[in-house]
Symmetry: C2
Subunit: 191 residues, 2 copies
């Protein structure tokens, strides 16, 4: 039983036939640390499930600086939604932070699965909903929180990721400089 099957059993009520059908259309892929799965400008052709490892989705600003939109650890999904939905050039990059194993579904295949398996459809809905909640919160903290508050919220909401990420990526995720981040962490230690 692979990671994906474990995931489905834990989060859905799909029967074995459906699971097999879903699994049979997936393309497995191994990624090395720092390898790209999607470059901005390319078209995001696949829905991506992370079986093992850790990916990041990030955009590049005019000055070359990178800002991270999302971390995707094992047992999560990722893609450039806009590019995937409309099959148009992507705004964002997706790359592996750790050596990773992923499953890929070409959009046409996944659309077929959604159309034929109602409970997969409703599960996908839930994931989308959660995505929207999280985006709302993220926007609000990005607007209103101080760097220290942002960091607190991050370690509170993703303590597991904290240990696996280089600090400069956390900074790129929170929208603060790495300098500020180390300052905050020093202040924490002194308490």
């Amino acid at each position: 039983m692979d990671e994906f099957e474990l995931y489905l059993r834990a989060h859905t009520h799909l029967d074995n036939g459906d699971m097999d059908q879903i699994r049979s259309l997936a393309i497995p892929k191994t990624l090395r640390r720092n390898e790209f799965l999607l470059h901005e400008g390319e078209i995001c052709r696949y829905k991506i499930f992370i079986s093992k490892g850790l990916l990041r989705t990030f955009g590049t600003a005019a000055d070359g600086s990178e800002h991270i939109l999302q971390f995707a650890p094992e047992h999560s999904w990722t893609l450039d939604v806009e590019s995937y939905d409309r099959q148009q050039p992507a705004r964002y990059n997706i790359a592996a932070i750790e050596n990773s194993e992923v499953l890929l579904w070409p959009k046409a295949d996944f659309d077929k699965l959604l159309a034929t398996i109602p409970s997969l459809q409703s599960f996908a809905q839930q994931l989308i909903s959660r995505n929207i909640y999280n985006s709302g919160r993220r926007i609000l903290t990005a607007l209103s929180a101080t760097p220290e508050e942002k960091y607190q919220e991050f370690i509170h909401s993703s303590p597991d990721l904290l240990a696996r990420l280089p600090l400069h990526m956390i900074a790129a995720y929170l929208g603060i400089s790495i300098k500020t981040l180390t300052r905050i962490r020093q202040a924490q230690l002194r308490r």
Copy 2:
């Protein structure tokens, strides 16, 4: 023919029967400037369509400051998604910026409509998708853009709103102080 019908005709291919059915379950409501449609802590019971006017969705920070998540002008929808989906206390407030007219659908009714009218369902999906794209962009600019860039992007993406909003609300939307906003605007004039 009311505003809502105009909207549906422009953006969907629903037939007259479906439109009537949808319309018949809507509760019309008039809002005065500054009137609240939802207070944080309450449950968001309705899906909201704005026929006329302008609403805002905002959160309140610990220090009492307000930050705006979304502006909803005529011919758009709004709600606290998380509260609506799960019928749990809302994180955000929704209030009228201008005197407004809205249509409300109780969740149970709207769910029924979605279940029985497939093309409404798919239209709703599109709206959700667009919402997600926009959130992604908003997060990225919140993280990476300078106040001036944020303002530029705003007047570029919502020139129509610019004239209708008090500056302090634009500031609350961009996550900058009103002082900085006026400073930027002065600089613009001098060019």
